[in-house]
Symmetry: C2
Subunit: 224 residues, 2 copies
């Protein structure tokens, strides 16, 4: 960050769903930021310097202070730019939102991603697990416009990859996880999410994602 120690920078990678969460959060709050694209397969000295522990993106740099981890960054944005809150204001509702955000981030993400990186029995189990986790999210979604009600918020951003990236993963891995006829709430939510003004204009192109994840799948299958 030698160029500038002031303002907000986001170090990211074009296809990372974790980076997009932070971009969306800043867009929703109207925070101006400089975006710095990182090559995660050939990490820059900058990334090693601002995130020595995990070396992963996203990293938010605010007035020279670096902060990694998308969920922690989103909470930080919500505390520093407290207008247009992402988390509910009620303490119990906040806690529940954190629970479901973590569930989406860990359970849903990990099982769905494993289905992209595997085949045979492991893939079958990953698909089954992902469907089971989505059944929980379907129930939790409850038919509202967004997870927290009429307004897009923390859980939506953490689940966002399901709306625009999971369909690409399903195609790449030749599996069906989110069957719209079995997940009517999530199917409707997907449309509400990708049509939201803060989300719509800033998603990676589908064919570029397809090519990228096809390549990742091949790499992972070679490692099995």
């Amino acid at each position: 960050m030698e160029k500038s120690n002031k303002g907000v920078q986001l170090v990211g990678f074009w296809v990372s769903p974790f980076v997009h969460r932070v971009k969306w959060g800043m867009k929703l709050k109207g925070i101006e930021f400089e975006y710095i694209e990182e090559d995660v397969f050939n990490r820059s000295p900058l990334l090693s310097q601002i995130n020595p522990v995990t070396g992963k993106v996203p990293v938010l740099v605010h007035d020279g202070n670096p902060l990694p981890e998308s969920s922690i960054i989103l909470e930080y944005l919500d505390e520093v730019w407290s207008h247009a809150p992402l988390l509910p204001l009620d303490a119990y509702q906040r806690a529940q939102a954190r629970f479901w955000a973590t569930f989406a981030d860990q359970k849903v993400f990990e099982s769905a991603w494993l289905s992209v990186c595997s085949k045979g029995e492991i893939q079958e189990k990953a698909v089954k697990d992902a469907i089971g986790h989505l059944e929980r999210m379907e129930e939790q979604q409850g038919g509202r416009r967004f997870f927290g009600g009429d307004t897009i918020g923390h859980v939506d951003l953490m689940m966002g990859f399901v709306a625009y990236m999971l369909p690409v993963w399903e195609e790449v891995a030749a599996v069906t996880i989110l069957d719209a006829s079995k997940f009517p709430n999530l199917a409707a939510w997907k449309s509400n999410f990708v049509d939201h003004p803060a989300i719509k204009g800033d998603l990676p192109f589908k064919d570029e994602m397809f090519t990228y994840f096809q390549g990742r799948r091949e790499v992972h299958l070679q490692r099995i």
Copy 2:
């Protein structure tokens, strides 16, 4: 929770390090609560009712509202009973505390626990990983009384298992992870932690932990 819908109940299991985090948090804040011991190997209908998603302890029940997951419960306690704060008040310091709390909860815990549940090469790698993660925590600890400075707080509670339970795990698994000569900051912190008035009187007995974890190790080794 048919008996009472008011007040605070904690559903736990005597040896769970996650449950202890919540107990400590409530003790530090002076919150009165009813403790309900759960048999996690033969889950009660109560537990299935208040935590249908993961079925795990701890579950906090506040005025009839159930909430699982120790780190989420600690944040909830900090918001509802805001005196004697566990997290720093400064937003950037809070975010950093969340980062290290998650690191302790995931990286340190998972590698150290794997060393108890494994042998041979897997165990060797788990020990190596755990030492590597503790090197990060050693640096982060920085020689202060507690992770956040003079006062015990969120990161200390999330790391607490390292202070009183890791020595038992090391003995059960016949490994050395936290060599005091290589981790002077963490060694001093361990004493500060277990000597704290809120911690001291409410730890499981060492011999009971040893017997319990010896049994768990045997069960896990049979599954390999």
